[in-house]
């Protein structure tokens, strides 16, 4: 698991290799620690975690701006909801 700050307002969370529930737990916690409006680049490769993360974002109002899938590896861009 790697969580890093790429630049001001943009973070990257790499949870490739992890199975449930780690990707969704780390995503939830990372988003909770970010400020409203900040962006999270999320990289994971566990398909079922994607379902949970998408549903979680829908419930909390965090917006999934982009979804990219390449050979089982998913890269999503999520914006933390404004307040």
């Amino acid at each position: 698991m790697k969580f890093e700050k790429k630049e001001e307002g943009l973070y990257r969370l790499d949870v490739t290799g992890y199975v449930c529930p780690h990707p969704q737990l780390y995503t939830k916690k990372a988003l909770e620690k970010m400020k409203p409006g900040e962006l999270l680049e999320l990289v994971f490769d566990n398909p079922s975690s994607g379902e949970s993360i998408a549903a979680m974002c829908d419930t909390t109002g965090n917006e999934v701006l982009a979804k990219d899938a390449q050979s089982g590896k998913y890269t999503w861009k999520i914006r933390k909801a404004a307040g």
Binding site: M1, Y18, V19, C20, K33, P47, A55, Q70, G72
Partner: protein, 475 residues
Amino acid sequence: MQNVERRNHIWAFAIVGFLSLLTIVSYSLSEYYIYLAAYLWFGFVYGMCLQYGRFCFSSAFRDLFAVGVPRMAVGIMIAMVLFGTVSALVTATGNSTFHPAPYGWHAVIAGVIFGVGMVLTGGCASGSLYKSGEGNVTAMLVILSISVSQAVFVDIGGWANSLVPYSWHQSAVAKGLPAQINAGDGWVDQYLAGHVWNQPVATYGELLGLQSPFLAAYVGNVLVGIVLPAALALAAVYAIWYRKGYVRKHRQEGKALGGTATELAGFWSMIAASKRTAIAGLVLGIAAGLHMYVMKGLQIKFGVHNFGTLMKELGFTFGISYKGTVFDPGYWYVTTQEAQWVGWVFNKLGWNNMDNIYFGLENGIPNPLINPADWMSLALIGGAAVMALLSNEFKWKNTTPELAMWAIIGGTLMGIGSRLGLGCNIGAFFVRVSQGDVSGWLFGVGMVIGAYGGVKFFNWWTERRLRKQIAAFEM
């Protein structure tokens, strides 16, 4: 990219081709192999559905507590209602292969242990099978762990006997089981024969005293046993986890909040939120019901009650139980066949593990290649692999030391929990609830409690690790 997709599709067709060839060739050797083929193709359908719907019982409880997502809780309830409705017809016409299990506190405790385990491993028993089909090596390790822990647990005696209450020992010995089973030795033997078998057995139809088989099946088992508790559970899930987000979105879209209408719309929104999961639940439920009907039909066709008889006809006698039976549930099941293949390996390596109830008296340890339930599980993995390959989601994912640790610990707990509960999330919960067995929801309640504990632990664990990473920069 296109090359990868083409390769994936070739592999998918290769798997289907292999399973088809196996079916045809085995049938050409003897029509009895159609019994195995039936298990195989239903297992294949289960695997495809599980992978397509990301259908995981661990997720049902875990993701509710961890990230407030009710997707799987909804999917399971849909599947159980459908399974129950289809198989109620099978039951009402006297064609069911199902027998309810004893119910009591043991079911709840077993569920708790299993629930903790399945959160640690990241998947339930069926979930680990389908995720193996996705190329997930950690999931394969979970299956190995569940298999080994069960095979050891069901035969463990010696020092473990000192942990058995004397009343259990007395009761087990008094059952008069065959001498070679030696029911007074072995923790699980004495647990089963000295405690579990003394507990009551009932379906909701029987508890309500409904005499007509149709009323017992549909009103008792389906309505009272599944629909009402499921509706209550989903209402609670909506109120606690989904409603807030729905109301917020409703407001943001400028829609007026209108009392009951809004709540009903919100509830429906929760039910329909994951189309994939709902479709998977639908197909799983119907397939699981049909599976019972088909297996009963084949038993009637061949004039048998258990595959053990057909095995002998086919010339395979190794590993058949004292009763002349092998594990042949007639419906979807996961854990016993996992224990059996390891039990078979252990036996071949010199371990005498046919002197216990689980292998020796009831289920046997046939060669996995002739074990109907193992055909079902292997085909389940195959079905999941095909679905993953067709959608380019198949990816070999190696395990890590951390994940391997959780797989082994969690898998061991799942193995122990499944033997204590006489089944896993499928055998002890999904199937039993769907058949109106009182013990089903008890195991389910245990799983919820266990999952809650598991999530609490992982919350702490992931928080710790994330904070260490954040310490390297300013947030």
